[in-house]
Each structure stands twice: as C-alpha cells, then as structure tokens.
Symmetry: C2
Subunit: 308 residues, 2 copies
C-alpha cells in the first residue's frame, strides 16, 4: 500500500492527514493556523503536524509517495506558489518547494475548493462520476469541477451574474450567484425579511438566538412561518437558476452541494430538484443533485491524491 499526505491550510486551522490509495484517511492531525505569525513559523507547524499524522499510524515513511496542499486564494498550481492568500497574508510564497525540501517528497498545491471537489469524487458523494460539479454554499459560493478524475482548474462560477443589476456583490459586480446563494447572501436576505417584518417569527427566532444565521429562516419555516417559506422559495429559485446555468453550460453528470446551507438536506434539495429539472435545456441529461458527504475530509483527501 502507498500513502499520500493531505494538508489543508485554512485561515483558522491547519489540518493534515495520511490518506491511503483508496482515499481513506488513516490518521489525521489539526493545529490552529495563527495566521498572524510570519509564514516561516506557520510552515514549521505544518511540518510538525505532518509528522504527527505520520507518527500516529504504523506505516513506513518510504511508502509515502507525495504530499498535497489545499489552500484558498490565488494559486500558481504549476510552480506550487501561493500568489495571494488574503486570510493567511501570504504573497508569492513558494510553499510547495519549502515543504518538499523538509519532507523529502514531492509536494503539490491546489486551490482548497478544487481539492475538496476531487475528494468528493474520489471517496464521497460523487464517487466514480465522470464529471462532477461541487458547489459550496458557505461564506461565498465556490465551484469545483472534476472531469475524468481530474480537476478542471480555474473553473469558478461564484461570480457569475444571474441578475443583471441585482444585489451588490463583494467583487464589485451586481447580482452574482454568490450574492444570493452563499450563506452570507441568505443571511442578508433574512435580515431584510426581519427588518420588513420585525414582529414575524423569523425576527423572534433571531432575537432569541441573538444573531441571524443561514439556519434562522429554515428554523422559522419549520415552525410554520409563511414569510420564511417564501424566502426559502426565493433562495431556492436563485440557487436553481445558478445550477441550471452550469448544467446547461457544462453538462455535469452530478452536482454535489456542500457548505453550511447544504446541511438543510431534503428541505433544500427536494424543491431545488423540482425547479432545476423543469428548467434544464431540452435534450440535456438530468444530473443527479446530492449533498456532499465528506465535510472537511474532502479537502484533505483531494489534496493528498491530486498529484497521483
């Protein structure tokens, strides 16, 4: 058996893991990133974490083929350089080369969303799919596209305008997919609902919890609030719009939804499917629409096996 190291460098935590050929994590370790430190110190902790992951399982280091990093931001995949990572404060940092010298094995670098998409195709919700689009509904909307087991790099549709002149997006454009369908987008729309209906159930739930989250409107809906139902309907209509754009445009075999909002499960997926399947261009095969199953593990597995 050969083994691969996965390294997920996030703004909050660094996660490392040993992944086997089948895409199973057999040992993993995590430490806080403390991104405010100089990059050399973060790098030292990454190496410590990798060694802890490897030491936690009874394998021969000579059976470890390579390591792969997943991290957000702008990445030069070919040269293993983080061009710009906002959360880590890294600029033009040749992290792959540095790590490779220390670990004595080749180290590759991928965008974290791309790595997670690959992980879901190798061992999760999209296992075995010929073409899979993984859409993460988190702080932003991330899309990762995997065809024939390979990441299609730079495929990123969060900043596709779906409503010309619509909601202001952080990117400067108006009406991006992300500005409606990210958790942030849903939270913003929920706040508007609360401001329009300060005595409604959604408002009361938010007041009780002390904040508005992506779940607030779903909680209100479950308790029978019609305004919450309407907002969820609207959210799902926008999500269906973005999904159908990508289905018409690229014809993936399967779409897997990840991120916080996807945890709503059937309350989200069932009406979403209904809307999507009525809108797809005639003749295009209906893709499966499912939720991601691996959580953060997808990123570790995908990063580890991206170089294989």
């Amino acid at each position: 058996m050969k083994y691969y190291i996965g390294i997920d460098i996030g703004g909050t935590n660094i996660k490392t893991g040993v992944v086997d050929e089948d895409g199973k994590i057999i040992s993993e370790h995590s430490i806080p990133t403390r991104a405010e430190r100089p990059q050399e110190e973060v790098l030292k902790d990454i190496i410590k974490s990798v060694r802890a992951s490897v030491s936690g399982v009874d394998i021969d280091y000579s059976d470890v083929v390579s390591a792969g990093i997943g991290t957000p931001g702008f990445i030069d995949v070919k040269n293993g350089v983080v061009i710009y990572n906002n959360n880590l404060g890294w600029r033009n940092f040749g992290v792959s080369g540095e790590l490779s010298r220390e670990l004595g094995i080749p180290v590759t670098l991928e965008n974290d969303a791309d790595a997670a998409a690959l992980g879901e195709v190798i061992a999760g919700s999209a296992k075995g799919a010929k073409s899979a689009m993984i859409i993460t509904l988190g702080t932003g909307v991330g899309t990762g596209y995997v065809v024939d087991g390979k990441i299609v790099r730079g495929c990123e549709f969060g900043h596709m305008v779906i409503e010309f002149g619509g909601r202001q997006c952080t990117c400067g454009r108006k009406g991006c997919f992300e500005s409606y369908c990210s958790a942030t987008g849903l939270i913003n729309m929920t706040k508007e609902l609360i401001s329009d209906n300060p005595d409604g159930l959604t408002a009361r739930i938010a007041a009780k919890e002390g904040s508005v989250g992506g779940r607030t409107v779903f909680d209100a809906s479950q308790k029978g609030d019609k305004e919450a139902d309407e907002l969820i309907d609207k959210y799902i209509s926008y999500l269906a719009c973005g999904l159908v754009n990508l289905i018409n445009g690229l014809q993936p075999e399967i779409i897997s939804l990840g991120g916080g909002i996807a945890k709503q499960g059937t309350r989200l997926i069932d009406p979403l499917k209904e809307k999507v399947y009525t809108e797809i261009y005639e003749g295009i095969k209906f893709p499966k629409i499912v939720t991601c199953t691996l959580g953060y593990k997808a990123g570790l597995i995908g990063a580890a096996l991206a170089a294989r």
Copy 2:
C-alpha cells in the same frame, strides 16, 4: 503533405473542403442542402460534393487521412450519430458510419459551433491560444471552448440566465444570455425601441429598409441617433455581463466574437472591452477580446482537423 476533408452540413447549404495540415483550405465546394429530402439523398449529395472538392485539386486520394463533419443539433460525437437535428429533420442518423463506408476513410462528427471554434484556434483569430472561447452572436448565442487544441465538448453557455426573471427565451427560461445578445435579441430590443419612438431615426431607417436587422440600430447610431446609442450601450452591457461570467468562470486566454453582430467591429469591441475589463474578478488575467476572422471557413477547417 497529408490532407483532411471538412464537411459542414447546414440547413441551407452543404459545404465541403480539402484542408491541409496547416489548416489551409486548398479546395472547396458547396451545394444547397434541400433538407426536405430523405436523408439518403442528402448523403449522396454530400459524397458528390466531397468528390468535387477532392477533384478540384491535384492531390493523391491516398494522402487524405480522414474527414470530419460539423453540424448543428444534438450530436453523439463518440458514435458519430446525429441524435436530433431540427433543421435537417434528422433523428438518430449514423451519418459518420455511412459516409465512412462510402469514402473509405474515418469520418468524425462534431457540433458545428465546436468545429468553428477549433478552426479559429487552428488558423484564425485565436491561433495558438492555450484556451479560447468563441462566442457566436447569430440567430442564437453559441459558445465553443477549446483548451490545449481540443474541443471541450458540451460547453454551451447561450442559455445561461443573466437576468433572473428577464426576457422570455425560446428555451423556456427567462433572461438567458441568448435572449439579449443574439442578433434575434438585439432585433427584438430594436423593435421595442421603434415601437416606443415611432418617429425616431431608428424607426425611419427600419421603415426605409423595410425590415429591422441586427445592423439597424448601428446604422442609426452612426447617423447620430442618441436613442440608438443608448440601446447599443444596453446591448453591450448585457454582452459584457455574459462575457465576464465566462471569464470569471473559466478564465480563457482569448475570446473571439463571431456571427453577424461581431461585424460591427470596433463600434462594438472597444466599448465592450472597457466594460469587461472593469468587471473581471480581481487577480484574473485579462483575456484578449477580438473578432473571428475565418467566417464559415472556420467550421470547415475545424471539422476537418478535429479528428487529427
């Protein structure tokens, strides 16, 4: 020198040509399709046209490696079957196999927009580009994407909604890229302008010409009509919106615009570039934006060389 046959089967004409290794057409022939006939008769004419193309130039038939067909509609590329072609009335017609038997060489099949995109990359406006998106602004909006000299099949963004709940599209959705940016879309918007301003210059030009075309509003603009300028601005804003979606989403190195509207040249391209370049997501490299240079020849060249 090796040679390749290109065959473009359109609803109106069948065009065939002999293409050399460099993507140069060295002989071509054309006949009306007369699509109302049984497919066997159309096939006979295709063979006749191919033979006419070959006979028109002094080459040895044994140096002809293969032939490639480009045609609109739903295509099973792998098996060389036209699944459904609305204009030709073909359903599940294994045209590649039939032609291959008659011509004694392998025959491949591609979507005509994909073939044309490949042609522009091989020998036209996008020559040598690592990744090129060819966008045809004709009756509809067609997109063809070529990466590393290979067609990315099924990449078709004409039915990407850019205005949620917007203009009715022929596909059933509302607000598709095509419903604004095709020649048909521009003509519809021009008709609305005329109906709102029946005494305006655009209306008078249309009345004089007896019809409204994609050029009408550009002609009015050239004669100093402000309302025409506003409509062109609006059209370019929508076109920029669709282009930026594709640039953010796929990061092509070059975008080539084809079809009738692209003939407006700098009156279209210059303000378009300005709008596009201010909207692209930060960090993404600006693609070149140009117009296609090969016209119908792109489809012949691309179809011929797709199998190479």
